[in-house]
């Protein structure tokens, strides 16, 4: 089975299968868009939770941390009910579009990025708060310094979010509908091939997805080590 799956994976890649690249490209587009939105939301949320002091702060942190373990199917159901034609946002006609998939993934990965950012920033803030205070460095400059100092940890947080987004199937299946040439992504295609009993094709697609994840992570690692080498870091 495994050898069959590998040869299927190579066949799919080498034959430059148009359908495969369409599905792969949609996976990347949806997950990257969701990631970007989640960074824009998650970084400020995490930073605020770490640095600001307000009543109920610990409750918020606990909630965000628990949301990291939110089952994708539940997120999918909630987004489905919200976007359904008979739901509150039905008028926008977003259900069964890539946007619906982006929304679901944003809900899934924002907590991850926010929670990890919060942890990193909290550690730094505890360490440098007094020093920065004694030097009368304003808070915005301090935060900028934290962000720069924590950039590698934050990249890891972002990669964790990307990993969750690109590998997730439960939510995008429900809100996207796995529609051919519209909302079919790698994970839903794998689910479809599995239900067709085409296990080696399914596994082949899985290998392609894994290769994609590997190259993204490899790219980030290379950029990081180059940056260090040239003294940019």
């Amino acid at each position: 089975m495994l050898t069959e799956a590998f040869s299927e994976a190579f066949r799919l890649i080498l034959s430059a299968d148009a359908d495969l690249f369409e599905i792969l490209w949609l996976s990347v587009q949806v997950s990257l868009t969701a990631l970007l939105v989640s960074i824009v939301l998650g970084l400020p949320i995490g930073t605020t939770l770490a640095i600001a002091n307000f009543p109920g702060k610990n409750v918020c942190i606990t909630v965000i941390n628990s949301l990291m373990g939110m089952p994708p199917v539940v997120v999918g159901l909630l987004v489905y009910l919200a976007l359904s034609r008979s739901g509150p946002f039905g008028v926008f006609g977003l259900l069964y579009t890539p946007s619906a998939m982006v929304i679901a993934q944003v809900l899934l990965i924002t907590p991850i990025i926010a929670a990890l950012t919060c942890q990193v920033m909290d550690d730094l803030h505890k360490e440098y708060r007094d020093l920065f205070f004694s030097l009368s460095i304003p808070l915005n400059k301090a935060v900028a310094a934290y962000l720069w100092d924590a950039r590698y940890s934050l990249i890891t947080a972002v990669l964790a979010g990307f990993g969750r987004a690109i590998s997730e199937v439960g939510a995008v299946m429900i809100v996207g509908g796995n529609i051919d040439h519209l909302t079919r992504v790698m994970t839903t295609a794998i689910a479809l091939e599995t239900s067709r009993g085409e296990l080696s094709v399914a596994l082949g697609l899985g290998i392609v997805l894994l290769a994609l994840a590997l190259s993204v992570n490899g790219l980030v690692t290379t950029v990081r080590s180059r940056a260090r080498y040239y003294g940019c870091a």
Binding site: R85, G90, P98, T194
Partner: protein, 270 residues
């Protein structure tokens, strides 16, 4: 970098309108067998060429498809559970139900046939035998058309298998393909539609044991969702597609779909 961000955001914005940009695209809430068997891949390109309509299929179980259509999340319902379909129309969710095509259900199981049902001409007799030998049976358990048909057969055989749920009667709560994968994995009998089975690629040593009983008849129907209940329904395009499916061209297209030389669906629109 900023340009890239803007571009990404534009992509998100564009996606939101993708459902609106095709004036003539419709969503079909469908049973899974018609998709898993490859029928849609074969006939829908022809339908799009003839009608100019882009057809998007959401394939879930019949029960879920009906519920989704009741929530107005589809223009057409294409499923196989006549009673539920008639209720759907009677409640005003659908305009009219049309017979579209048929095939049959079959009972598949491991080659060594532990309940010795092979060649049985009566499905309910075979089920009685499975129950009395407590041979493992994998049920869909998901309110799908096939699940409903299976429960009807159990009723005919005067057996309530759910009493043995978790023992020899195992409700997978999954789609047809997933249930077949599970059945093959634990040497269990299963009721399946012939189309999914023929196209299924993970058969192991499984064989068809029971076929040909009239009670195994499997009728597919098609319904336009009522625009009075769901104003978002693209009734014009939806009706056009239904007309095409019921037309000579559409029916001939369905009849000409073959897998390994076997015809999977038999058109019977009136």
């Amino acid at each position: 970098m900023r340009h890239k961000i803007i571009r990404k955001l534009c992509f998100a914005a564009l996606c939101s309108f993708s459902s609106l940009s095709f004036a003539d695209s419709i969503i079909v809430q469908s049973t899974t067998s018609t998709k898993n068997s490859g029928l849609y891949d074969y006939i829908l390109p022809k339908a799009s060429t003839d009608t100019g309509i882009k057809v998007n299929v959401v394939a879930v179980g019949t029960g879920q498809a009906i519920k989704n259509a009741q929530r107005c999340d589809g223009d057409i319902l294409l499923v196989h559970a006549k009673t539920s379909e008639e209720t759907f129309v009677a409640q005003g969710f659908g305009i009219e139900r049309f017979d579209l095509m048929y095939n049959d259900f079959i009972i598949v199981g491991p080659a060594h046939d532990p309940a010795s049902i092979k060649g049985s001409s009566e499905a309910s007799e075979a089920l009685r035998q499975i129950a009395s030998t407590e041979a493992i049976f994998a049920s869909r358990g998901d309110d799908s058309g096939t699940h409903k048909a299976e429960l009807r057969l159990w009723r005919d055989s005067m057996i309530d298998p759910t009493e043995a749920s978790g023992q020899w009667y195992r409700e997978t709560g999954s789609g047809m393909g997933a249930t077949l994968n599970i059945a093959v994995g634990m040497n269990a009998y299963a009721l399946t539609d012939r189309a999914t089975w023929t196209k299924f690629g993970n058969k192991g040593d499984f064989q068809i044991h029971v076929e040909g009983d009239q009670k195994l008849f499997n009728q597919y129907g098609v319904i336009l969702v009522n625009p009075k209940k769901c104003p978002n329904v693209n009734a014009v395009a939806g009706q056009k597609l239904i007309d095409w499916l019921l037309s000579k061209t559409g029916q001939a297209a369905i009849a000409s779909y073959q897998v390994n030389g076997n015809q999977l669906f038999y058109p019977n629109a009136r």
